[in-house]
């Protein structure tokens, strides 16, 4: 599973961090950081994160 975040769309809402804390995090200045090739066991979490992103900036590629 490959995770792609459109950083032009991302506005650092952080909803993805709640949904998939193993994949998404906020750095000290409040900006998004993420793992682009997470374990497939985290797929449900990542899908949830994509759903709750207010900007719909998260895409999952197989």
């Amino acid at each position: 599973m490959k995770v792609v975040v459109d950083m032009n769309k991302c506005q650092d809402h952080g909803q993805c961090v709640f949904a998939a804390p193993d994949v998404f995090s906020m750095d000290d200045s409040g900006h998004l950081a993420y793992v682009s090739d997470p374990d497939d066991a985290l797929r449900d979490e990542v899908e949830e994160a994509a759903d709750v992103c207010p900007l719909q900036a998260i895409r999952i590629e197989d």
Partner: protein, 402 residues
């Protein structure tokens, strides 16, 4: 599983319902009916980026999931009536659809001002077409804009208009402060100041008595008879649930569709409601059924309602805990963001600054009987992160009725 689920409403709630029905194991047919011509799209940018001309429509559309590839979409089609006893809905094309399960996802439409005057130059912001039409008028040189309603949408539109360089932007509201209903006085005062500092004018404590103009609006008449010159008017005075098509079926439609704790419409286990048209009790709070017009609610309700409906249609009991979402909303205005978790509106009588100060980034807590029920951050990213720290705390709180 065989049979068909009809989802009425093809915006975010309808899309999420279809996705979540597949996730809940429903393999039968799904038909989604929606009256807009578009596939489901994201609405928050309509009052901000779309109005400012910063993003094309294509970037608003939700990315379809593979699981919904065989969902049938009837777009540009309106459901005009339902006969729940016969499990049938009637379309404006004259044909009817029968169903085994029904998802009500018809959402809201803007309330309109009922006072004298023609409609030319008067706008609402709910659909893509609305936002495109308003943008074309805001960008006319020298346009004077009056926004009626100082709620979230009204304040976002006013901020966007100022950002576009509109010469005069005035917000009118009968209440003494903007957004005071959902946020309370403390933050509302701060927001008023910040909007004024950035060029938005306010006419507060007054209603609108009528509109001047022949073929289109030239002025807004206030309660005291004074007139605000206006070339463009935006009406953001709340919304009305789209439930007309459900009348005559014995449902409680007094404000949206009243549901039980599993989002089932009264007496019809094969009918569920999702999104802001659903008036549901939240087990996290006081058990009083409410509609919630937050962006997160279509996804939250769809997840729970789809499980409820799929279980019922499979002949199984619903083995879910009562629906208990943690509401969350945000609003971007000018250069600041409001970020909220929980239900601040329930705790307006006991509002405290938790961190920061009103002149800078500030984090505000809302309490009932000394118990924190909601937090709102105003400011930059640090404030939003501060609010997020309280999210886990709010999730752990026992129900207000406990």
């Amino acid at each position: 599983m065989t049979g068909r689920i009809v989802v009425v409403g093809a915006s975010m709630g309808g899309l999420r319902a279809a996705e979540q029905l597949r996730a809940a194991g429903w393999t039968g047919a799904i038909t989604v009916v929606g009256d807009e011509p578009h596939m489901p799209y994201n609405r928050p940018p309509l009052s901000k980026e779309v109005l400012a001309g910063k993003v094309p429509f294509e970037s608003l559309a939700f990315t379809p999931k593979a699981s919904t590839a065989d969902v049938e979409w009837l777009l540009g089609t309106k459901v005009v009536a339902a006969r729940l006893a016969e499990r049938t809905v009637e379309l404006d094309t004259g044909s009817a659809l029968s169903y085994d399960g029904l998802v009500v996802a018809t959402g809201m439409r803007p309330r309109r001002l009922r006072c004298p005057g023609l409609l030319g130059g008067r706008h609402t912001v709910r659909t893509l077409a609305d936002a495109q039409g308003l943008r074309a008028e805001l960008t006319r040189p020298g346009a004077r804009v009056v926004v009626v309603g100082a709620g979230f949408i009204g304040c976002e539109v006013a901020a966007t208009a100022v950002g576009l360089g509109v010469r005069e932007v005035t917000v009118v509201d009968p209440l003494p402060l903007p957004m005071v209903g959902p946020l309370g006085e403390l933050l509302a005062r701060v927001l008023l100041k910040r909007h004024e500092e950035r060029g938005v004018r306010f006419a507060l404590g007054t209603g609108v008595a009528g509109f001047e103009g022949d073929d289109r609006v030239t002025g807004v008449v206030l309660d005291d008879g004074s007139v605000l010159p206006a070339d463009v008017v935006v009406e953001s005075v709340g919304s009305v649930a789209n439930t007309d098509w459900l009348q005559g079926n014995g449902l409680d439609l007094s404000d949206g569709v009243l549901t039980d704790e599993h989002l089932r419409a009264g007496g019809h286990p094969e009918v569920v409601a999702v999104g802001d048209v659903a008036r549901f009790p939240n087990a996290r709070y006081d058990g009083v059924p409410r509609r919630v017009e937050h962006w997160s609610i279509p996804t939250d309700t769809a997840k729970h309602a789809a499980k409820t409906l799929a279980a019922h249609l499979a002949g199984a009991d619903v083995e879910l805990a009562p629906f208990a979402p943690l509401p969350t909303f945000w609003s971007d205005q000018h250069d600041f963001r409001l970020q909220s978790f929980g239900a601040p509106g329930l705790g307006l009588d006991d509002v405290r600054v938790l961190d920061g100060e009103p002149d800078g980034d500030v984090l505000v807590g809302y309490h009932v009987d000394g118990r924190l029920v909601g937090v709102v951050a105003l400011g930059g990213q640090a404030a939003a992160m501060g609010a997020a720290k309280y999210r886990a705390h709010l999730l752990k709180q026992p129900a207000l009725t406990a």
